[in-house]
């Protein structure tokens, strides 16, 4: 597994799906899978105006690297994860996870596994802002 086969990053800039898709291209791959998590305007019956993403950055980056390296070990030819930090408006992409591989079926499974790992392991927290009440921290269980 070469270091060029996976990529993990945290960014305060908008995430480009086109750049990620280009990075995933490989002549041996017939499938490129991209998942984008996007800020939505409703959570727990409250209207969300924006979400600020906070992180323990060294810890989060290390976890993200382990996750995409694991996807390559499990059959992806390439894997990429980009997590956005800072204040995001509704509609902006907060997370991109992508894999490329020769055939599609395994790719769907790897994307789901990767997202479950990101949501349980990567040290990032949402601070949700609402129209009618003060911001709240969202913490997993």
């Amino acid at each position: 597994m070469s270091p060029e086969s996976y990529s993990a990053s945290l960014t305060r800039d908008p995430i480009s799906t086109e750049e990620a898709s280009r990075w995933l291209q490989d002549s041996t791959c017939g499938a490129i899978h991209l998942f984008c998590g996007v800020v939505r305007d409703l959570n727990r019956e409250q209207t969300v105006t924006r979400i600020e993403y906070h992180s323990h950055e060294p810890l989060a980056l290390k976890s993200l690297e382990k996750i995409v390296a694991g996807l390559v070990e499990s059959g992806a030819t390439k894997a990429i994860a980009i997590h956005r930090l800072g204040m995001l408006e509704v509609g902006e992409t907060s997370i991109l996870l992508g894999v490329s591989l020769p055939h599609r079926k395994r790719g769907f499974e790897l994307l789901e596994r990767g997202m479950l790992e990101i949501k349980s392991e990567v040290a990032v927290w949402k601070h949700e802002h609402y129209t009618d009440s003060p911001p709240e921290w969202i913490e997993g269980s």
């Binding site: 290390k62 990032v124 949402k126 921290w137």
Partner: protein, 81 residues
Amino acid sequence: MNLNILLFASLKDAAGSSTIEIQMTEGDRVADLIEAIRRDHPQLSERLDHVRVALGDEFVTPETVITEGAELALIPPVSGG
């Protein structure tokens, strides 16, 4: 030894600060650190049952021995993605 512990998310709000200082002694483990925080910062107590502890860029276990200068952080349940 005095250690500065990093706090995040609701822990940071509950403490009113992004760090707390804890006095530990040589040979203390992560589990001892949690008990020291529970004693010195009771406003954090109910959240401590659900936190993990990180040393630098790695999670550590309750048995990990703490050394001087350790960069420790309390990690509440995460909510990224």
